[in-house]
């Protein structure tokens, strides 16, 4: 098995073999970050351009470190402060960047579907580093890598995803990947942030206790503060009263259950400090795995060279 995509835009529709292959590839890159000299020449001479149209310190840093550990040149453009604020369209930005012959583009954008638009208009691979409320494929891959690393498998595990499911790109990517890999998914949150139509993705729980009871993995989502004031919830205080993962709540899960969070965390809102810093928390493991996942993706996409991608697009 191999990964044949020209881009990594999302995990929806990806096969079990493909996801397995990406996780195995990422596993093999983990070791490089443990070396004293954390650099291999694999992507020497390749250029990776990050287009960050939405602020994202940790995802951008993670991609940058991944690129540099593979010896690629990494250049990053912050959309919100550059030509976009001067009125340049995404299409013009894409064409201009493409004209500089990058080997891979990494894009974070506040609008769902923006990386798909980019991919249609440039001749090089595009990696979605999070688009609006749609997908965040590298985050889900690092979550799966973390789960698999700790539990040895994904199939058969029960995973609760808790919080603002409606607006969460992390959820969408995870739901597709977890289900494809054979995990059972529960979605937990208030009805305003968890529409009943999502029942096709997993069992719906509006009660945190029933949602986490007996699960192997609790995946907490960051609650965007702007949801307060848009009437998705009355106040953050009231939200935390019903949906904050505390030690007592976590005790309802399996004894060896683990807790994931894509960060940055709101301590005391969706997760208590006790849990975030506790034994079950895999938050820092996730961050470490993020670099490995992104190295694997850049290796697989940027490593091919432009010609091969264009040939594949032609057929």
């Amino acid at each position: 098995m191999t990964f044949n995509g020209n881009h990594l835009l999302g995990l929806e529709g990806m096969s079990r073999d493909e996801i397995e292959y990406l996780l195995d590839s990422a596993d093999s890159f983990r070791e490089i970050s443990e070396r004293e000299i954390k650099k291999v020449p694999t992507l020497r001479g390749k250029t990776v351009v990050g287009l960050f149209f939405e602020s994202s310190t940790r995802t951008r840093t993670s991609f940058e470190i991944a690129a540099k550990r593979l010896s690629a040149d990494f250049v990053s453009i912050s959309g919100s402060t550059s030509s976009v604020s001067k009125g340049e369209t995404l299409l013009d930005t894409a064409r201009n960047v493409a004209a500089m012959r990058p080997d891979c583009l990494v894009m974070r954008h506040p609008r769902s579907g923006a990386p798909h638009f980019l991919a249609r208009h440039v001749g090089c691979p595009v990696v979605n580093a999070g688009d609006g409320s749609h997908e965040h494929p590298t985050q889900a891959l690092l979550d799966l890598l973390t789960i698999r690393g700790v539990r040895g498998r994904i199939a058969g595990l029960e995973v609760a995803i808790v919080g603002d499911v409606l607006h969460s790109r992390v959820t969408r990517s995870n739901v597709h990947a977890l289900r494809t890999m054979g995990a059972r998914v529960r979605l937990v949150g208030p009805p305003t942030l968890l529409p009943s139509a999502l029942a096709e993705w997993g069992d719906i729980h509006h009660d945190l206790a029933s949602g986490v009871r007996g699960v192997d993995v609790v995946m907490m989502l960051r609650l965007q503060r702007e949801r307060q004031g848009a009437n998705f919830l009355p106040t953050l205080d009231e939200y935390s009263r019903y949906f904050c993962l505390t030690r007592e709540m976590l005790e309802l899960a399996k004894p060896n259950a683990i807790v994931l969070h894509p960060g940055p965390i709101n301590r005391g809102v969706e997760i208590s400090s006790e849990v975030a810093d506790g034994q079950a928390s895999m938050i820092l493991e996730q961050v470490a795995n993020g670099v490995a996942v992104r190295m694997a993706i850049l290796y697989l996409l940027a490593g091919r060279g432009r010609a091969s991608v264009e040939q594949r697009q032609a057929v």
């Binding site: 929806e12 369209t89 995404l90 299409l91 954008h109 609008r111 769902s112 579907g113 923006a114 798909h116 638009f117 688009d131 609006g132 409320s133 749609h134 997908e135 409606l166 607006h167 790109r169 969408r172 529409p195 139509a197 999502l198 096709e200």
Partner: protein, 432 residues
């Protein structure tokens, strides 16, 4: 193209529901009027002969919901290009919405549009005036002044009338002139900043949704008002099965309401948005399969009166951007007829019902002297070839804008000849 002389449509099938004619008839046109209708071969006249074999001769199609964009947005469309597109699609008349710049909320703008039509239009142009000044939804526009100048209806289309009291007054006041209030039903708070139908696909794509209830709540409100005030209410571009249920109930109660549907709402569903195609972005949004089916069956049984395109031209630069930011709307004049013919072929739509929905009923609702091919009536005629096979090439559309989701679609059926007032304004070559 042909001027003045007599023209005989020979050998075709006449579909003229206003006169209960459906069958083999020849139609003679002289001096801009229908001069004779008779059995095949029975009309002897010194006339240019158009072989209508295999085709339908129908009263000129009327699209009662288009955006011609002039004045103010001539970079998207003009009266000239919009009516070129209309006649290519078989339409002999269009009614154009008021959301121009300036808004058509005064007799001066109405007169300007009619002047431009006289100078440059291939089809008849019937302006629709604004309900409220500047489409702002606060004060009634001078509807009487606009009526005197030539508007055939009023509508704030594009901007829903959020204020129920204003809507009530509009339904009452328009009774002075007997013209309909055409409503774009959308609760602005419920629709919010949604960009597509709120449903499964929207949840997958992570886009903001507009729930069906945003339309249905306003339909329910306006039908309740209508029951109280009387007047004429025309529901534009209905899109949900729930709206159809409300319409059915209102009809059964005898309320003076009419309704329209667009071809894209009965042909496409929200699945068309899957690849973030901005040409599948419009208001109301493409809904679900069950909605499309409800629209088709309401059309078949005559519950929906009218097929209209909501032809909404937008420049490439307003569509080749992020989905969230792209303009709402698509062009429709050149694809409406073949898309509706799909219903005739595949979904049991009676051709007579098609002609009612695309000619007779819009003429009746807007009070136009059209929709009939009785002897002595104005010769606005569309010659429909239901089997003409062609492929939609966006660059070849006559509209100034190319924002259609039907690019590359193979179509069956087209207008072969379009005649306005006895003059042939469009004629399709033998092979496209």
């Amino acid at each position: 193209m042909s001027e003045g002389g007599a023209i005989l449509f020979a050998g075709g099938t006449l579909i003229d529901p206003a006169n209960d004619r459906h069958g083999a008839y020849d139609v003679l046109v002289e001096e801009g009027l229908v001069a004779a209708v008779g059995a095949p071969g029975s009309i002897g006249a010194d006339a240019q002969r158009i072989d209508a074999t295999g085709c339908w001769v129908v009263p000129g199609l009327i699209d009662m919901h288009v955006h011609l964009r002039e004045p103010g947005y001539e970079y998207k469309e003009t009266v000239a290009t919009g009516t070129q597109s209309a006649v290519a699609g078989g339409f002999t008349a269009v009614a154009c919405m008021a959301n121009t710049k300036p808004v058509n909320d005064s007799a001066a703008v109405t007169e300007y549009i009619l002047d431009r039509a006289r100078e440059s239009a291939l089809a008849r142009v019937h302006p629709i005036g604004a309900v409220s000044v500047g489409l702002a939804g606060r004060e009634l526009a001078e509807i009487g002044e606009m009526y005197e100048a030539g508007v055939v209806a009023v509508s704030d289309d594009g901007m829903p009338i959020a204020d129920g009291a204003l809507m009530r007054r509009a339904l009452e006041y328009t009774q002075l002139f007997g013209i309909p209030v055409i409503v774009h039903e959308e609760d602005p708070q419920l629709a919010g900043d949604g960009v597509m139908h709120e449903g499964r696909v929207c949840l997958h794509l992570g886009l903001k949704g507009m729930p069906s209830a945003a339309e249905e709540a306003m339909v329910a409100r306006d039908l309740a008002l209508l029951a109280q005030t009387g007047g004429k209410l025309h529901l534009a571009h209905l899109s949900t099965a729930g709206s159809i249920r409300l319409l059915r109930d209102a009809r059964e109660r005898g309320l003076p309401v009419t309704a329209e549907v667009t071809p894209h709402h009965f042909i496409l569903t929200d699945e068309a948005v899957r690849e973030y195609d901005t040409n599948a972005k419009m208001k109301p949004p493409l809904r679900e399969q069950s909605d499309a089916e409800a629209l088709v069956s309401a059309l078949r049984e005559g519950l929906i009166d009218v097929i209209a395109t909501d032809h909404a031209p937008h420049h490439r630069d307003e569509k080749e951007i992020e989905f969230d930011l792209a303009a709402f709307g698509i062009v429709g004049l050149e694809t409406a007829l073949p898309l509706t013919l799909r219903l005739v072929r595949d979904h049991g739509l009676d051709p007579v019902t098609l002609v009612r929905a695309m000619s007779v009923n819009p003429a009746r609702i807007l009070g136009l002297d059209a929709g009939s091919l009785a002897v002595g009536r104005v010769a606005d005629i569309t010659l429909v070839d239901p089997d003409y096979v062609w492929t939609v090439q966006l660059e070849e559309l006559r509209s100034k804008s190319k924002n259609s989701p039907f690019g590359g679609w193979e179509m069956r059926g087209a207008a072969r000849t379009t005649m306005v007032g006895g003059r042939i304004v469009w004629s399709r070559g033998e092979q496209g």
